[in-house]
């Protein structure tokens, strides 16, 4: 991967454009302390549906496919997540298993935060908690859109057209 690992969120030039990352400096400093930056090649599974939530993955660079799976192994893509999104958030907050599978579509750079650290961080930093609430609302909006297109699409053809 050609990009250099950017260890600190303070040096990140993309930060102001991103919903979650645009935090006040004290919160950012605390976040810097609990995250660990990792690079993953294309095709890596970041987490799997049904597994206990270990933490969240803040996507710094690259795209990730989020999908759900049936017992028989059939897969359905929920959406493609882009940079700036926080993955595994709802599972980590509700301490349920991950509800989706996240698989990298490109080489990605993610900041990983353990569940316990995240919960403490959110309790200490009100702004971050508010960001998380609005992120979750957005996730929910896209999920409902997906429910609508799958559940109310008239035919398989019209459903296929709406898949991105």
């Amino acid at each position: 991967m050609e990009s250099v690992i950017q260890q600190s969120c303070f040096d990140c030039v993309l930060r102001p454009d991103r919903l979650f990352c645009d935090l006040p400096s004290d919160a950012l400093q605390a976040f810097d302390g609990i995250k660990s930056v990792s690079l993953y090649p294309r095709g890596t599974t970041l987490f799997r549906e049904g597994h206990a939530a270990r933490g969240v993955f803040v996507l710094c660079e690259g795209r990730v496919k989020l999908s759900v799976c049936s017992e028989t192994g059939k897969r359905l893509t929920l959406r493609i997540a882009g940079p700036g999104e926080v993955l595994g958030l709802s599972a980590s907050l509700s301490s349920r298993p991950y509800e989706v599978t996240a698989e990298t579509l490109e080489n990605v750079r993610v900041a990983v935060v353990k569940r316990k650290d995240l919960l403490r961080f959110l309790r200490d930093h009100r702004e971050a908690c508010l960001q998380v609430v609005s992120l979750l609302s957005q996730d929910l909006h896209t999920a409902y859109d997906r429910v609508r297109s799958i559940g109310l699409g008239r035919s398989r053809r019209s459903r296929a057209l709406r898949v991105h």
Binding site: V68, C69, S70, E71, K74, L76, L78, L89, S90, A91, L93, S94, R96, E99, V100, L122, R123, R126, C129, L130, V132, V133, S134, L136, S137, Q138, D139, L140, H141, A143, Y144, D145, R146, V147, R148, I150, G151, L152, R154
Partner: protein
């Protein structure tokens, strides 16, 4: 006290006995006190529409008593029921937070008590009380989980029979009936509404019920449904 629709209205959250069991309501006293000043306790009859999909968000509705049907609707009028919300749930939350239109329609199934909070008041409340903010995040996570579940069952189930069997198993696992040999469940919904929950027609649901009764998988006693053969129902839910 006059109680509309036979409801016993809980006026104050501070004295509410149900509070401790509910995710959102179990707030520290200081937060609860400020919540108390911004909420409006209201009662609705059965069949009242709290908000409609597409409407710009006015605020949140904390469901205190009764049940509310949450559905989405296509332009051709086809309806899909996402969930029957139970007391303790906060409705219209994500739209209120994000400022986007309500993504669902909420209609009461029973007479309900609902505590309404205006959008501006609620946003200010969240900024001031981080505990409440955390609880909102938890509620949203719960809803997201439910939405993913819905996507999975709608998008990946093969037949209506499979979906109906799954739905019945899910309902029968509530209220401590799961461990029983022959769990009972109260059918609160009509066949039409069940059809809307699993994305099929009323006729199909009626046919499936008749078929399950014939095969002695379920038995109807008034509005109560007894699952006679749980193994067969599980087979229906996994096999297609």
């Amino acid at each position: 006290m006059i109680s509309p629709y036979g409801l016993d209205i809980i006026e104050s959250c501070l004295t509410c006995k149900m509070r401790v069991d509910r995710i959102f309501c179990d707030l520290p006293t200081s937060a609860l006190q400020s919540f108390e000043t911004i909420k409006y306790a209201t009662a609705y009859p059965k069949g009242a529409v709290l908000f409609v999909e597409g409407q710009s968000p006015r605020g949140i509705f904390v469901l205190c008593k009764g049940r509310v049907k949450l559905s989405i609707c296509a332009t051709d009028g086809k309806t899909l029921i996402l969930k029957i919300a139970e007391p303790g749930e906060v409705l219209g939350l994500s739209a209120t937070v994000s400022g986007k239109p309500y993504e669902l329609t909420a209609e009461t199934v029973d007479p309900c008590q609902v505590n309404f909070v205006k959008r501006e008041d609620f946003l200010r409340f969240l900024k001031e009380h981080s505990d409440a903010c955390f609880k909102v995040a938890e509620q949203l996570s719960e809803k997201y989980n439910n939405a993913c579940h819905e996507v999975r069952s709608l998008g990946l189930s093969h037949s209506a029979g499979e979906k109906l069997a799954k739905l019945l198993l899910e309902w029968s696992s509530k209220n401590g009936e799961a461990a029983k040999q022959e769990p009972r469940l109260k059918l609160a919904l009509t066949h039409e509404e069940i059809a809307q929950m699993i994305g099929t027609s009323r006729e199909t649901v009626t046919r499936l019920f008749a078929d399950m009764k014939k095969r002695q998988i379920v038995q109807a006693k008034g509005s109560t449904l007894v699952i006679r053969n749980k193994a067969a129902l599980k087979l229906m839910a996994t096999n297609n």
